[in-house]
């Protein structure tokens, strides 16, 4: 054998990355979370956007919203508080200016919408249903930074009615993004499932605040905001586990995911896919590294597909 050309290593076992979330098929389980990736255009040069498992652009509302007054973010220990306030130009501008670009990128585009009431959700869902290229919706019923932002995410029956209303008038697969700021998140998740959700996205931010005691002022213009980043990962994992135990509907894990170990932990705990959020801010190419590492981690786990790993957590509680 030619000494300069050693034998190639044996071929690595193929691992299958596609996942299924109800009616929604994704090429892989690594998505980017709404509100943490702009409208994707910002990241075009830093990230190979076509590799992502799915793209969730910043939440759109029926009417344009200016958003909250600064400061809109404040760093905390291993976390970030935000109170952006759904700053966006409204759904008409979104459809005209951002959607054509997003739908040309390749990955499934899940449009995050936030209505002030069910008719607004339904109206936006109908508008998006009529747009070619939209893969699905994510109902943001968990934004802590706008009035009424969590009204449909804190009551199982209100959640069920909203999801059912959207489902009735829109053919697109529906994910429902829930807030952890409730006593029993599994109850709200059951409401979403009963309403016809294809997947449950867990979690939105954890309500918090930061104070400058010397100036006796809150650090956020909105006084309170939502905490994200590694600081909330244990809360997110717990929510994913509890909901995955309670419902058959697939779960998308969100909350402080920044490393391949984080991804694997969420899959084992019961998430079928994950969304990368705050890590995009402080590590803009993080999704590419996670995608590079995922096949090897799955092999290490001894599985040949993502779905084989989902919900394999073993507990003595049975």
């Amino acid at each position: 054998m030619n000494q300069e050309h050693p034998a190639p290593p044996p071929p690595l076992a193929e691992v299958s990355l596609p996942v299924q979330l109800g009616r929604l098929s994704l090429p892989n389980p690594i998505l980017v979370a709404s509100g943490t990736f702009g409208y994707a255009r910002e990241m075009q040069h830093l990230v190979a956007l076509d590799r992502l498992g799915g793209i969730l652009p910043k939440t759109v509302t029926r009417q344009p919203r200016p958003g909250n007054a600064p400061w809109r973010t404040a760093e905390t220990a291993a976390g970030l508080l935000n109170a952006i306030g759904l700053d966006n130009d409204g759904i008409d501008a979104f459809i005209a200016h951002h959607l054509p670009y997003l739908c040309g990128l390749g990955p499934p585009v899940l449009v995050s919408i936030a209505g002030r009431n069910p008719p607004e959700f339904v109206e936006m869902a109908e508008q998006l249903d009529a747009q070619p290229g939209v893969a699905g919706l994510e109902l943001n019923i968990s934004c802590p930074n706008v009035t009424g932002g969590v009204d449909y995410g804190t009551s199982a029956s209100a959640c069920q009615q909203l999801v059912a209303a959207v489902r009735q008038r829109c053919q697109l697969p529906i994910c429902v993004k829930l807030t952890p700021n409730v006593t029993r998140i599994a109850d709200v998740a059951r409401g979403a499932c009963d309403g016809g959700a294809d997947a449950i996205s867990l979690i939105n931010t954890v309500l918090g605040m930061a104070v400058d005691w010397r100036r006796r002022r809150p650090l956020l213009g909105n006084v309170v905001g939502g905490l994200s980043g590694p600081a909330i990962k244990p809360i997110a994992l717990r929510c994913v586990y509890q909901v995955a135990q309670a419902v058959e509907t697939p779960v998308i894990g969100i909350g402080g995911i920044a490393t391949i170990d984080d991804v694997m932990e969420f899959l084992v705990a019961g998430a079928t896919a994950v969304q990368i959020g705050t890590a995009n801010y402080y590590d803009p190419t993080v999704t590419m590294r996670l995608l590079d590492a995922l096949p090897g981690a799955l092999r290490e786990a001894g599985v040949s597909s993502v779905s084989e790993l989902v919900g394999t957590l073993e507990t003595s509680r049975g």
């Binding site: 255009r41 958003g67 600064p70 935000n82 200016h97 801010y281």
Partner: protein, 290 residues
């Protein structure tokens, strides 16, 4: 004017995200340090007034911080290989950064933001307060014909005169004055306590230049918002064009978080929150709704 269909004008389309090594981290004034790191590709493409994000590879502090280009560092053959940023030790991040020795790595992404325009002007007047002088050294070098920036290098018709009006609380906080001097920048210093230069505020040393202009001039300002407002008012009174470089705190630097917003007026005079990182950080002072 057609609205920009994709909302912002300066996406990070030349940005790189890299692990770089610290080469130097030296004190240049009271609580003020110059950090030098090796990053040839970034150094080759960055423009005066653009910024970069730095992050230590740890979860606390979690978020990157924005720093203006202070200067690119050239090899003996004139090739850019490194970047200098100058920082004031003030918060959680800079208190950690000051303890980072040469050889330590950090993550960097950039170049970001629009940078200063290269429009020709005969007399360029730089106005800085506090740590706000940091973006001005490369701009001065460029307008004095000493350096070129960008890939391909942009061409700036040399100014006949470049002045720096620079104020700080006290003389010990004036940082990098000798760097501007070495370029041939005309200095107008001010300190609150009178320990160096004019005893008083920066607008005091700017006013005479506006009152008795010898050449067509343009003002570019960076510093605390109260100073920027005063400079914007002064330049408006004298009908002089003024650009401001904003120091709005940022969480991502690349336009995805919508936290570094500032009130920017449109052509009709209505204002909206705009992302400083991808719409700025350099704005025409008349567009800012202070």
């Amino acid at each position: 004017m057609m609205p920009n269909p994709l909302h912002a004008s300066h996406y990070p389309d030349a940005a790189l995200h890299q692990r770089v090594n610290i080469v130097e981290n030296v004190r240049i004034a009271q609580a003020t340090y110059r950090l030098r790191f090796a990053c040839p590709e970034l150094a080759a493409r960055i423009l005066p007034g653009q910024f970069l994000m730095l992050r230590l590879e740890r979860n606390d502090p979690l978020i990157g911080r924005a720093f203006a280009l202070y200067q690119t560092v050239l090899s003996e053959t004139g090739e850019p290989w490194g970047i200098d940023v100058v920082y004031l030790v003030k918060g959680k991040f800079t208190r950690e950064l000051v303890n980072c020795p040469p050889g330590q790595s950090l993550m960097v992404w950039g170049p970001l933001g629009n940078g200063f325009p290269a429009d020709p002007i005969e007399h360029l007047v730089l106005v800085a307060g506090g740590i706000g002088q940091t973006p001005f050294l490369p701009l001065a070098a460029e307008f004095l014909g000493k350096r070129r920036y960008g890939q391909p290098a942009r061409t700036v018709p040399p100014a006949r005169r470049v002045s720096l009006c620079y104020g700080a609380r006290t003389a010990d906080l004036l940082a990098g004055v000798e760097d501007f001097q070495a370029l041939g920048v005309e200095l107008h210093l001010a300190t609150d306590d009178g320990s160096r230069g004019h005893p008083g505020l920066v607008p005091d040393v700017l006013r005479p230049l506006l009152e008795r202009p010898e050449l067509p001039l343009r003002v570019v300002a960076c510093g605390p918002e109260v100073m920027l407002q005063a400079v914007a008012k002064l330049t408006s009174t004298w009908g002089v064009s003024c650009q401001v470089s904003l120091e709005t705190p940022m969480a991502c630097g690349i336009g995805i978080c919508f936290s570094c917003v500032t009130r920017v007026k449109d052509d009709r005079g209505d204002w909206d929150w705009k992302r400083t990182c991808v719409e700025g950080p350099v704005f025409d002072a008349r567009r800012i709704a202070w």
